[in-house]
Every structure is written in C-alpha cells, then in structure tokens.
C-alpha cells in the first residue's frame, strides 16, 4: 500500500447521482467498499443504477453528492492519478475492427505508458488464450473472442482494480468457465480486486466473495452469498434476487 492510501481499494460514501434536476435518482445514497484481493459483484435488475455507479467509479461521471475514492484518491477530482492502476471491460464497448488483436493491445499499452510492451502483450494473449489470433483483425473474431479481446485490453496495464461489466454475457459456458478460472487465478496470484456485474446469478454465486444487490438506485442487500441466502432463507441467488426485487416493488406500492 502506497503512502497515504486507505486499506480499502475503493470506498464509496453516500453517492448520489441523477441526470436531470428533478428526475429520479439513478444512484441514491450508496456506500460500499472493495478490499484488496476480493471479487465483488454488483447485481440488480435493468435500470437499477449499476452502470451509473460504475461510470462514477471510473471517473466518467461525477457524483452530485458523496464521494468515490480509489486508492485514497477522489475520482471526481484526481482520476488521472490512479487511472493507470485500474481498467474496465464491458460488452457495450468495442475496439477498432480494422486493427489486429496485437495492434489494439500495442496501442493501449502505449496509451497506458507501459514500458515492457511486447512482453506484456504476450502475457495477456496467453492468459486469455488469444495467441492464435494475435495477427487477426478484431473484425474477424467471433463474438466470444471479441469479448476476450476486450478483457485482454483491460488487463494490458496489469491493473490492481478491474471493473468487468457482464464479461461473460456473450460467451458459451465452457469459455465462461475458462475466463472465470483465469480471472480467479489473477485475483489469487496478484491480489487483484475485481468488481463484476452480471445477470447470471449462478455465475455470481460461484465467483463472488461478496455481493451488493441494487434496485432503483439503492443498495438493498449486501454480504457474502452464503450469508445472504441464510439471512433471506433462499436456496439460491436467483431466488434471493427475485425475492428482493419483489419486496422492493411491494414496499413502493
């Protein structure tokens, strides 16, 4: 831990955000923390505010109130001080299709000011099983390979905190399992912290150390998967998810 850093990799305090002056809160008073070496999931129905929250964590949006600190730095004002230590992949994003896998990684290694570029690219290609495609243009890859390519880009700077937004949404079960194993290995070996969103509750159940359940901009539950299932007396995470969303809906009515 560098001087001046907090023990939490990420600390969000009472974060609120809405897009229009009188509109609904997209994120409404959320506080959470991530610690080193954890895999934490944020789950919730569409429109729960997960994306807005992650965009604020990345410094793409500034909160209306509250703060998000990563490695002790406020992301609203000091994003660039820590941006080289984090990265992000999302199925909503892509990379230039005319460039090969290696060229895209090369560009981002340069943009992240990496020095050992060739070595780093090879490591990432091996980790994501992309070596056979290193000289293939991204536009000629399958959907699953493009998803892995996005994660390869997110690993190019050897991040200490990685945000993955539905990384396995376009992958078949076998490739999803391989990717989870790769990411788990990185978390274990390199003490990386992983924040993860997914609609696949079985995956979240298997993969996460802790999870936060969001609905309508608020956190409605948090804890380890077994603790939450015991607390809410459910057999699996999907049942818990449905129960929580239903309960919220009833309380609103």
């Amino acid at each position: 831990m560098a001087f001046g850093e907090t023990p939490e990799v990420l600390l969000a305090q009472e974060v609120r955000k809405r897009y229009t002056k009188d509109g609904p809160w997209a994120v409404d008073g959320i506080s959470l923390d991530l610690r080193r070496g954890e895999v934490v999931s944020i789950v919730g129905p569409n429109g729960a505010g997960k994306s807005t929250l992650i965009q604020m964590m990345l410094g793409l949006l500034v909160p209306d109130s509250g703060s998000i600190r990563i490695f002790g730095t406020d992301m609203a004002t000091g994003r660039r001080k820590v941006a080289h230590r984090i990265n992000y992949a999302s199925t909503d994003l892509s990379l230039p299709y005319s460039l090969t896998v290696r060229e895209n990684l090369m560009a981002y290694a340069l943009i992240y000011n990496m020095t050992n570029i060739r070595e780093r690219i090879e490591k990432v290609l091996v980790a994501l099983n992309l070596e056979p495609f290193r000289d293939v243009r991204v536009g000629r890859l399958s959907t699953g390979q493009v998803a892995r390519m996005g994660i390869a880009k997110a690993l190019i700077n050897d991040p200490e905190l990685l945000f993955l937004d539905e990384p396995t949404a376009t992958l078949d079960p076998e490739v999803s399992a391989q990717l989870r194993a790769t990411l788990q290995g990185m978390v274990r070996d390199r003490n990386m912290t992983l924040l993860y969103t997914s609609h696949n509750m079985r995956e979240v159940e298997r993969f996460s150390d802790r999870l936060y359940l969001m609905n309508r901009g608020r956190l409605v539950a948090e804890g380890t998967v077994p603790a939450l299932m015991t607390r809410f007396d459910t057999e699996d995470l999907e049942a818990l998810f449905l129960q929580m969303v239903q309960r919220e809906r009833e309380s609103d009515e």
């Binding site: 793409l60 460039l99 243009r137």
Partner: protein
C-alpha cells in the same frame, strides 16, 4: 503487481504515440481512407488546373494571378484536411465504440486532441506532398516558389484548421452524432470569407469585415502578394497568427467546458450507442 507505479506524466510521449499508432494502422489497411487523402485533392487539382490552362490563354489575365489559383487550392485543401483530421478521428473513436476506453485511460482529453493533431500532421503532409507534386508535374506549378513564407502560411492554416476541428469535436461531444455533419461542413462556412480565390477587396463590405476576423484570409492575401508582387505583408501574417491563437484558445476552452459538463450530465456515454 507494483502498487508504487507512478501516474502517467502529463507530458508522457507514449500515450500520444499510442493514439497516433492506431490512426496510422487504420489508414494503412483502408483503401477508402487512402482515397480520402488522395482522391479529392487530385480531383480538385485537375478541375482547377484545367481552368488555369484555359485562363492562361485569355490575354487580359495575369499569369501570376492565374497560377495563384493553384497555390490557393493546395493551401485550402491543407486547411480543410487539418480541420477534418481532428473531427473525423474523434468520430472514428465514436463509431468504433472506443471513446470510453480513451476517457478512462490515464490521459487527459487534451492528450486525445494532441494525438489527433499529430495524426492530422501526418495526413496533411501526405496529402499535400502528393498534390504539390502533381501540381508541378501536370501544370508546372511550384508551390515552393512561395519560399520560406510557405512554412508560415502552412502553420497559420494548420492552426486555424485544428482550432475548428477541436471546436467541431466539442459540438459533436455535446450534441451527439446528429452534429457529425459539421466534421465535413464547418470549414465551408469560412470559405467565402477566407479570400481563397479572390482578394478581400472585391468582397461586399459586410463580407470583407467578417473576413478580417478569419485567419485564413490573411494567409491567402499574403500568398497572392508573394506570387504577384513578390513581397510578404508581415503585419497581415502576424494578424493571422494572433487570430489563430484566439481561435485555439476559444476552441480549447469550449472543449474543456464540454468535457466538464459531460462528466456531470453523461451525454458522452450515449455517443455511438
């Protein structure tokens, strides 16, 4: 994992090279992109070159005034490419859904502009060199007859083009892809007031007044002065640079404000979706 890695320095060269590298590779592989650099300048050159051949045959036309049309064409194309180079690079990032990757990287939005300026220099150099060579080959027009002044003319035009490119980028960022037509059209708003093919003195008073606020008008007047009278009005060129600095300051201020506003309102997150 090395948690003591220092932040990326503000003046680091690798991020700029990374942005430039992506652009160059994009061009290396794309025939339509090569056409954009060579096809339009070549067609313009042929149309205007043939016109000068005709005009030279009319006894009342001064040969130097006729050849200055070709010089004007080459310099106008340079201005157009400089502006377009910035705006189209930004659009390419939107089209390829890559903009967010750049905005979360440890660089500032000004690095993105810096990379665009570098790639614009490469494209302008390529396009202008080919056009200048063909102008000499086909119509015996030597752009280098402008001498050392040529460097200052080019610099003044590039600065104006970049400023307009940055401003266009800010508008696209703010209003989305509906505003992308500006990337191709905004420069033509300035063409009637830039005195590209005609002196400012022939313009109606209102248009002449407007042209005094356009840096390019001083460059094209200066170019004609060098070609026809063999002298450079230094004061006019200084005025062009002063206006360029003003344009660049306004453009960077607007760009910076739009980025700040985007982080509050999130309109940049919807681009390309």
């Amino acid at each position: 994992m090395n948690s003591s890695r220092p932040p990326v320095p503000l003046l680091a060269w690798r991020p700029l090279v990374g942005i430039l590298f992506r652009q160059i590779v994009l061009y290396r592989r794309s025939v339509p992109r090569w056409m954009e650099i060579f096809y339009w300048p070549l067609l313009d050159l042929l149309v205007w070159g043939f016109l000068t051949l005709y005009l030279k045959k009319i006894p009342s036309f001064m040969p130097s005034a006729v050849t200055s049309l070709l010089g004007a064409l080459l310099l106008w194309d340079l201005l157009y490419r400089a502006q377009q180079g910035i705006s189209v690079m930004f659009l390419e990032e939107i089209w390829s859904k890559n903009l967010i990757h750049l905005l979360i990287a440890p660089i500032t939005p000004f690095h993105v502009v810096g990379g665009a300026v570098l790639s614009s220099i490469v494209k302008v150099l390529l396009s202008s060199s080919v056009a200048a060579f063909l102008a000499y080959l086909l119509f015996s027009f030597r752009i280098f007859s402008l001498g050392l002044h040529l460097f200052f003319f080019i610099l003044a035009l590039l600065m104006m083009g970049w400023a307009l490119g940055i401003l266009t980028t800010a508008v696209i960022l703010r209003y989305g892809q509906e505003a992308e037509v500006l990337a191709w059209g905004v420069i033509f708003l300035f063409q009637p007031f830039s005195a590209v093919f005609n002196p400012v003195s022939v313009l109606p008073q209102v248009a002449a007044d407007i042209s005094r606020a356009v840096p390019a008008s001083y460059v094209f007047e200066g170019m004609r002065s060098v070609l026809v009278q063999g002298r450079l009005p230094v004061g006019d060129l200084m005025m062009a640079f002063l206006l360029d600095i003003l344009y660049a300051t306004v453009a960077l201020f607007v760009y910076s404000r739009v980025i700040t506003r985007a982080r509050q309102k999130g309109f940049h997150l919807k681009l390309g979706s």
